[in-house]
């Protein structure tokens, strides 16, 4: 039987706290994005297209919506007889009895599964970056270079986008990482990590067991930085569209950047499709007298009002006489007649009443929680 080159492991809850109330009832992985996706879709799709047949999703809390989204994994072709998709909830009773903190403990918790896998390598990924990276290329580069660890990273495009939680790396002339920096804006010449890396499976097991027994918590700091001399830490530079979600504001600007055709073309390359759960919405309906400019509209929307620079998720309804500018309207949210919204992110199933007026700012978009009635 063919042994798979690599298995995938996705950390669903990492960075959840960075987007505030948006993850009050969901994981970072299940944060809705781009009209019909969840953040986990980008990672899962890339894994599957790259030939990974065994993918584990490590969850810690608030994972109702994620489990519901993933279902049997069929939409990503991961409802397999052999291997496939596995969700790993924290296994109470089997280990210490409390829920883990940090990536090392999370990995330690699923070590039995990692040990059982027949794969040579493990691809680890957080869900805080939106991109359409090439998993096959990443893994092959890792193998061809004989690296111990390979970090996927990108060149910092904009000084402002760094900040909170960023991990960045400095390479020598051979592409080998010689410094790792944490939780601050990347320095000059440093590459930003996409929080996606490949590591040899047996090495990972050894490092995690060792680190866990020494009560270490952060993978990048306590393992990678620590072993920077004795491990060959390699990098692959991704040069396509990539956005990091580390705040409500960056969620907003990342979403709005999709109004640029080039960004869409890169993220939604038809040859590299992003799979997601199917919702069976009817087509979007544009009513008499509606006015739609520079907007992304998902299926199932009914638009009778006016929208400009907006992103409408599946089933959003914009009644006649309402005006929306620079807004993100999530699934099944209804904007009633005569309402006026600007720089608003309305989560799922929100109701904005007749003639209401809500205004945020580009630097501080107004976020309205799931199910709110305004």
């Amino acid at each position: 039987m063919l042994t798979n080159k690599a298995m995938g492991l996705i950390f669903a809850n990492m960075h959840s706290s960075s987007v505030g109330n948006m993850t009050a009832q969901r994981t970072m992985a299940s944060l809705p994005f781009a009209g019909r996706y969840r953040l986990v879709d980008f990672c899962l799709s890339s894994f599957v297209r790259g030939g990974l047949r065994e993918v584990g999703v490590i969850v810690k809390e608030n994972y109702h919506s994620l489990m519901n989204h993933l279902g049997s994994g069929k939409e990503w072709d991961l409802s397999r007889k052999i291997a496939g998709l596995m969700v790993y909830p924290p296994f109470i009773g089997s280990l210490s009895g409390t829920v883990y903190h940090g990536k090392i403990a999370a990995l330690y918790n699923v070590l039995p599964y990692i040990k059982e896998s027949g794969s040579k390598h493990v691809v680890l990924a957080d869900c805080d970056h939106v991109s359409n990276f090439n998993t096959a290329e990443l893994v092959n580069n890792h193998i061809d270079n004989g690296a111990d660890v390979t970090i996927l990273c990108y060149e910092q495009q904009n000084k402002d986008e760094g900040g909170l939680n960023a991990t960045s790396v400095l390479r020598d002339e051979n592409g080998r990482v010689i410094d790792i920096d944490f939780n601050r804006p990347p320095k000059e010449n440093y590459l930003v990590s996409m929080n996606i890396m490949v590591i040899n499976r047996e090495l990972l097991i050894e490092l995690v067991e060792d680190a866990y027994s020494h009560r270490m918590i952060v993978l990048e700091r306590d393992i990678l930085q620590h072993h920077i001399k004795d491990l060959f830490i390699n990098t692959v530079v991704y040069d396509g569209f990539v956005r990091r979600i580390n705040s409500v504001q960056s969620y907003f600007t990342s979403s709005m950047s999709l109004l640029e055709p080039d960004n869409r073309k890169c993220l939604f390359d038809p040859l590299k499709p992003i799979y997601t759960k199917v919702n069976d919405d009817a087509p979007a309906r544009y009513g008499i007298g509606c006015n739609v400019k520079n907007s992304l509209v998902a299926d199932g929307c009914i638009i009778e009002g006016e929208i400009e620079n907006c992103l409408l998720f599946r089933g959003a309804k914009v009644r006649s006489g309402s005006v929306l500018k620079n807004c993100i309207i999530m699934q099944d949210t209804v904007i009633e007649e005569g309402a006026s919204l600007s720089y608003v992110i309305a989560d799922k199933e929100v109701k904005i009443g007749k003639d209401r007026s809500l205004m945020g700012y580009e630097s501080y978009p107004l976020y309205i929680q799931k199910g709110s009635v305004v």
């Binding site: 781009a34 009209g35 019909r36 069929k74 109004l259 055709p261 869409r264 993220l267 939604f268 038809p270 499709p273 992003i274 799979y275 997601t276 199917v278 069976d280 009817a282 087509p283 979007a284 309906r285 544009y286 009513g287 008499i288 007298g289 509606c290 739609v292 400019k293 520079n294 907007s295 992304l296 509209v297 998902a298 299926d299 199932g300 009914i302 992103l311 409408l312």
Partner: protein, 403 residues
């Protein structure tokens, strides 16, 4: 093991759709922005609680086969039952393509027997409608009929285009006339038959042994049932129903989705229509676009003017292009300044800059030459070319040419 199974007749070439069914079977023809015709009977089945469907086909089934796949979009991927495409095959005694609708069912008795149903529902793959078939089952049980036939009241003046059922006051069918010159009623058969399996078994066996039969349900089997005194009951369907067997009716059925006065709502949650999802990102409407009174679907991108039209996934309408009263099927592109009026543009067509397809009736002098224009899949209409109203385009049209 299964109370009711459905047999869906999807075999027809649909020759009256001409250019649209050159390489695909009629039930696979796109409809309504993201559907194919067959989505309607399949969705009706699952919504009615029928989870076993045989799809009978012999004409260009590759695309239909791939589209149906494992049946999951309709929740019809089942360990027992589910949806299965049935093609003609060879037996030790020889082999035969399907002759007539009744023969197609007869050749697949082996499939039906596997499930040993009480009732067999015969459907066809060329109608757009939402219908709860379980009501026909209820009626059959209640009236103890052998067959229940779904009927629709049609305007008297159109009745002679249909198979007409005459019924008594209890809706028991007294006689049946195929396209009568002087119709005795206005109850038209919708081509939906619910048979008791034992009755179907016997009458199709007889029909197969009858060398004079054309092996058709309407022409042969139903009259035979009536002649031998079987109880046939009409089920009166109320609601939207459209045969999309012609270019005009296919065009109309699409436009009906936009028309707020037509009571046919595919947005309602209580009777979903499922389809295989193309999996595209949301549609984009640019700063230069004007879109109204239209429906459009994921993956399309609209830079031009769209009015009273149906836009499928992956369609691009470029700047200053105009699409009105038209249907643009998946992947087609209308380039800058091009115009499309009253047309059906099949899949992956490119309409080059400044070309014009179709015409508005109000601009015609000779109105009898007016009609819906059709461009077949994969063609290119060259820059500045003109496709006349009512044209049926099978081959690409060169730059500046007229056709």
């Amino acid at each position: 093991m299964k109370e009711t199974i459905a047999m869906l007749l999807a075999g027809g070439q649909g020759s009256r759709l001409y250019a649209l069914t050159q390489t695909i079977a009629k039930p696979a023809v796109p409809y309504g922005g993201k559907y194919r015709i067959i989505d309607f009977p399949l969705s009706n089945c699952i919504n009615s609680g029928i989870d076993t469907v045989g799809v009978l086909t012999q004409y260009q089934p590759l695309e239909l086969n791939a589209y149906i796949g494992d049946g999951r979009p309709w929740d019809l991927d089942r360990l027992e039952g589910g949806v299965h495409v049935l093609s003609p095959y060879q037996k030790i005694e020889g082999s035969d393509w399907y002759r007539g609708t009744a023969n197609a069912i007869y050749q697949n008795f082996g499939f039906i027997e596997k499930y040993n149903p009480e009732y067999v529902l015969i459907l066809s793959g060329d109608h757009i409608y939402k219908m709860n078939y379980s009501k026909m089952v209820d009626l059959l049980k209640k009236t103890d009929a052998s067959v229940v036939i779904s009927v629709l009241e049609v305007p008297k003046e159109e009745a002679s285009r249909f198979g007409i059922m005459n019924t008594d006051k209890d809706d028991v069918i007294i006689d049946f006339e195929e396209k009568p010159e002087f119709p005795k009623s206005n109850l038209a058969s919708m081509g939906i038959y619910l048979f008791r399996w034992d009755v179907l078994n016997k009458y199709l066996e007889d029909d197969n042994n009858n060398p004079n039969s054309s092996n058709d349900f309407g022409k042969d089997v139903i009259p035979a049932l009536l002649n031998t005194g079987k109880k046939l009951v009409a089920y009166r369907f109320e609601g939207y129903w459209k045969d999309v067997g012609t270019i005009d009716s296919l065009w109309e059925a699409n436009m009906d989705l936009i028309n707020p006065n037509v009571p046919f709502d595919i947005w309602a949650d209580d009777w979903r229509i499922y389809c295989r999802n193309p999996g595209r990102p949301p549609q984009y409407v640019s700063n230069d676009a004007v879109i109204q009174n239209s429906i459009a679907t994921a993956g399309s991108s609209i830079d031009g003017n769209v009015d009273f039209s149906v836009i499928f996934d992956g369609v691009e309408i470029h700047k200053n292009a105009t699409v009105r009263d038209s249907i643009i099927m998946p992947g087609s592109i209308v380039e800058e300044g091009a115009e499309v009026h009253y047309s059906i543009i099949a899949e992956d067509v490119v309409i080059k800059k400044g070309a014009k397809v179709g015409e508005r009736p109000e601009n015609m002098d000779d109105i009898e030459n007016w009609g819906v224009s059709v461009v077949a899949a994969g063609l290119t209409i060259g820059e500045g070319a003109f496709v006349r109203p009512k044209a049926m385009v099978y081959d690409s049209v060169g730059e500046g040419e007229e056709c």
